[in-house]
Symmetry: C3
Subunit: 270 residues, 3 copies
Amino acid sequence: MSAHDPLITITSDFGTADSYVAQMKGVILGVNSRTRLIDVTHEIPPQAVFRAALMLPELLQTFPAGTYHLVVVDPGVGSARRILAAELDGHYFIAPDNGLLDPLLQQATHSRVYELTNSRFWRNEISTTFHGRDIMAPAIAHWSRGATLDEMGEPLSGSPISLPLPEPTMTESEVVGTILYVDHFGNMVSNIRREHVKQWEGSDVDPIIRLESEGSLRFIDSGISETYADSLPGQGLILWGSHGFLEVALNGGNAAAKFKSQAGETLTIY
Amino acid sequence: MSAHDPLITITSDFGTADSYVAQMKGVILGVNSRTRLIDVTHEIPPQAVFRAALMLPELLQTFPAGTYHLVVVDPGVGSARRILAAELDGHYFIAPDNGLLDPLLQQATHSRVYELTNSRFWRNEISTTFHGRDIMAPAIAHWSRGATLDEMGEPLSGSPISLPLPEPTMTESEVVGTILYVDHFGNMVSNIRREHVKQWEGSDVDPIIRLESEGSLRFIDSGISETYADSLPGQGLILWGSHGFLEVALNGGNAAAKFKSQAGETLTIY
Amino acid sequence: MSAHDPLITITSDFGTADSYVAQMKGVILGVNSRTRLIDVTHEIPPQAVFRAALMLPELLQTFPAGTYHLVVVDPGVGSARRILAAELDGHYFIAPDNGLLDPLLQQATHSRVYELTNSRFWRNEISTTFHGRDIMAPAIAHWSRGATLDEMGEPLSGSPISLPLPEPTMTESEVVGTILYVDHFGNMVSNIRREHVKQWEGSDVDPIIRLESEGSLRFIDSGISETYADSLPGQGLILWGSHGFLEVALNGGNAAAKFKSQAGETLTIY
């Protein structure tokens, strides 16, 4: 293996019970047999563009520059939605134009965004239901073996679709955030980032954080922890997750189950 | 990595919670460290030979010629069932002789089918419960590094076991098919292929398609769509799936859940 | 690909719905792009150290010598628990010091155990919640490209944490074991190994085996089978599993479901 064999990550909502993901891999390897393929996840909830979009910045922070990323969460397949190829801070992405790349594009210091238009880089027969296999997989494989954005498409006309990600509501005395999703461990990940809680920095008084579900209080705590070990086993705590969002967690347990709570609920800091 | 390092796909009903799949991979890599391993799925329902058999043609259509495919859905492990090694249109398969390769063999234009008999290409100790690890994994690894079918076994005597896949019932006025399985998205995949609906080609009148479950009508539509976008969000539609079978789908939703239906139900065209 | 490109297996309780596993892979590939990564499983029940610990000997028996193994089941992350790097009979392991390596260490004929202490081989920023990504992943990648244990850490002071694995109770007339876990097929794996049933070897009388759940008899059989095919379809049987533990299984079905039983129940031989 050469250190220069291209790396392609794959993220989708295809699940792993069918052969959909393998079909994309077969097509990629048929175009460029030297690629090394890494699954991110295929358990994005069906058509949950927003969940995949939030995951992509974590890939930018951990994979080496020069990695290719194929992202197929594509509820608009078969319609006129565009397919994007974007170079972002040294990483290469192909994804449908439905908001998937929006958080990345907002953070990127350097980006070039193209629309894939040249069918010479696609499979001969294009189904109407599976562009991940028929357009995006062969395109990223050709890209990884040297085809250029100018050969494969055209600079995007207009802006890419933006992702309607809810932002916390900020007032002088409180920040009202939302639980975006619950991860495998039951950790409840909110949309509150460090930049939203600057007003408590250097203060003598710890902020109070309150989790409410269906209008009733489920958990309340003061202060933000840095590690699970800051609370006793079985007790809830508020901490910064590994991706920089504020989480409600449970030391040694499942917070969402214990607090009978879920995505969409309200997290308030005051 | 050389473009000629052999590619081996793996399909099984082992699930991914235990180490069974990894054990097979370890054995393969111990015999031929140059192989590149691709998971198709390990979530074939336990011992559902038929589900894996229907998946294999999709691999033939997407993976490059020269790919090896290990298929371990093996309810007869430990009994006298044979183990097959088959060369099929430039692809190489190892699977138990229980019908898994039947759909492939019926479509293949060129095939050679052997029975694995030479234990020199197996692990030293053969368990009675895990021939995937002890016989098939080392055999496919040896095959991928140059062992020949004639070294590893003998031409199959008699026919391979055939798969009892239900065919649609055809009359002059209607085609009565069956839902074979429901995929990750809730799409209901039937056994009806394009060859079964030729009588409506070029006709002015669209066929009517009716889904019945437990004897009651669940969905009815006229015409076959080419894409999900042909129906309104939340509405059912009938379309050709990416593998060539007729599907009942739901634009932006789960058809099987909405129509309270499942594998085994009846789909009629008239 | 060179046959000498290092192989790294990954075992965790991270699930596959989030990007946690991919983040570790990105970090590994950023340090050593030549590694080949193999997933064992990421479905260890959350924080079930014991389940992963029992799986590791199966990797030693199937992967080639020289394989690296990253094992991240880490309920103590963020606390003062140590992180181990161990060379065991030609395999290389990195895991938190919480009992994960205990069964391996007890069986190994040659072992060297170090504590990872040199942060030069870690990521620049160390989170308090994800040492798998920030410490263990980069460390195993550096190890796989030539860093030595003496560079990365220090010989372990004191003993590693031991795993409280229940042993069967042995009397002259009976062996009382425990169901350790239930696998994907519903096979119920006990803690009884061949060494525990020597008293029946060469005897004319087959042992009787009895499965009890919540105090009531669920299954009773005489004799230990060598293969599923020794019983009729749909019937229970007792056999040696592929890993050397005694199992309760069902020919063609799910034993745990049929016998309404689960991990923790009692299996008695007499």
